[in-house]
Amino acid sequence: MDHQPPPFFKRGPAPVALLSFYVALSAALLVLDARFQALEMLRQALSMFSLPLQSLAHMPIQALDGFGAYFVNVERLRDENARLKRARLGNVATLLRTQQLEVENERLRKLLGVKERQQASGHAAQILYAARDPFSRRIVIDKGQQDKVVAGQPVIDDAGIVGQVTRVFPFVSEITLITDKEQAVPVQIVRTGQRSVVFGLGNGQLDLRFLPANADVQNGDLLVTSGLDGVFLPGFPVAKVVHIERDTAYSFARIYCLPLAAVENFSEVMVLDPRPPVALPEQLTSEASGRDGRSPGKSAGKKRRLRKD
């Protein structure tokens, strides 16, 4: 005969069984997310619940901010206004000529038969907060799928490149800053025209890699985007070289740079429209499709994730 314990002793599965179940489930989620990036739908669904809570948590802080801004000194506002007016007047000459130069450049390029440069256009967005994850450098802005933001769009501020949109939610999107360890930007040194790739270091600095120890780089050199990746438009300032270590034991120089944009500060940013994929010449397309059957334009807008080492 079967002796069952009385029902008031029933406590569900044993704790160790439950623990192994949940640990296995979390491990499966971790692998799916880290290896295959296959859980974006689940993340978006969960964000529908967490986002309202998050905005609720931010409400008192925003209220405090607004309260402080209300009592800003009139004197300071007047000063700022005067300074901005002066700055605008100072820029006006360059700006007017730039517009003319751009038109002229376009005409000359047409004459030469070179492909036209794409005009930079985009939407301004407000930075909401920095993501709390201490292992990466990301910020969240207030534009999302509703504003037709897609993953891969470059983000700039008034001084240079800030980062790249890596994840889009319905109302917000996540930007990986150029100082993040997983973010890479193809750049060009303005003074010499040499091209390389700049990687984030995770501590607010950038690392210009794969330049030989005897490369012509100096402190203070300006790095601008080279545009070779098909994601960032060419010519945007990225960083300035601050420190160079040339060790003959290594074949590459260690070159440290500081970002020019106010990357780690709260401000307004501009989300640039994605670049249209550049079509390859006929011959290359047929060659590429013959080899692996992938269309060449597909990878241009995709999120770049450069594997290290």
């Binding site: 623990l19 949940y22 489930l25 979390s26 989620l29 799916l32 967490s50 931010h58 709390r132 990466s136």
Partner: protein, 173 residues
């Protein structure tokens, strides 16, 4: 004579919505934009561990897993990172609960400290395996601060259960 600790006092039964309320408040505290202070304690895991020690049957690993997922989405970290750490901490809390409650508050906090440290170390291990950078020593300061807060938290969260059973009209409090 046996020494009497506050933990052996007979308390009123807990009001279950109060547990949910405290967990919600802890989640909101966690969602504050405190990225600039890496030493901020993880309020949610502190509250979860507290209730898993006090109310093992009500707050279990399922709730810890769900809260962990919520934190993963809100923090933009790997999905499952917080969930794994929270589940382990709550399991440790409920497994140790019979032992922990025998001790006075200071020693209870010392028992809780390894659990809170485990939460950070598990996350550190997961992210290091996935190729992230080390977040600095301040990351391990959070559990220390949370441990110091344990007596205060115990006092606050047990306040509703310390009320007298019979209300005296002449002494409302």
């Amino acid at each position: 004579m046996q020494t009497s600790y506050s933990s052996s006092r007979i308390l009123l039964p807990v009001w279950p919505p109060f547990i949910g309320l405290t967990l919600l408040v802890a989640l909101l505290l966690n969602l504050l934009p405190t990225a600039a202070w890496p030493a901020m304690p993880d309020w949610l895991v502190l509250t979860l561990v507290f209730w898993s020690v006090r109310e093992t049957r009500r707050v279990g690993m399922g709730l810890a897993f769900l809260s962990g997922l919520a934190m993963d989405v809100a923090d933009a970290s790997l999905l499952g990172q917080h969930a794994l750490a929270y589940v382990l901490a709550v399991y440790g809390g409920s497994a140790l609960s019979r032992r922990i409650l025998w001790f006075p508050l200071g020693q209870q906090a010392l028992h809780v400290f390894p659990l809170l440290l485990l939460v950070q170390l598990v996350q550190l291990a997961v992210r290091t395996l996935a190729g992230a950078d080390s977040p600095g020593i301040a990351y391990l300061l959070g559990p220390c601060l949370a441990t110091l807060l344990w007596p205060l938290l115990t006092y606050l969260l047990l306040l509703p259960q310390h009320q007298p059973v019979d209300h005296d009209a002449n002494r409302p409090l």
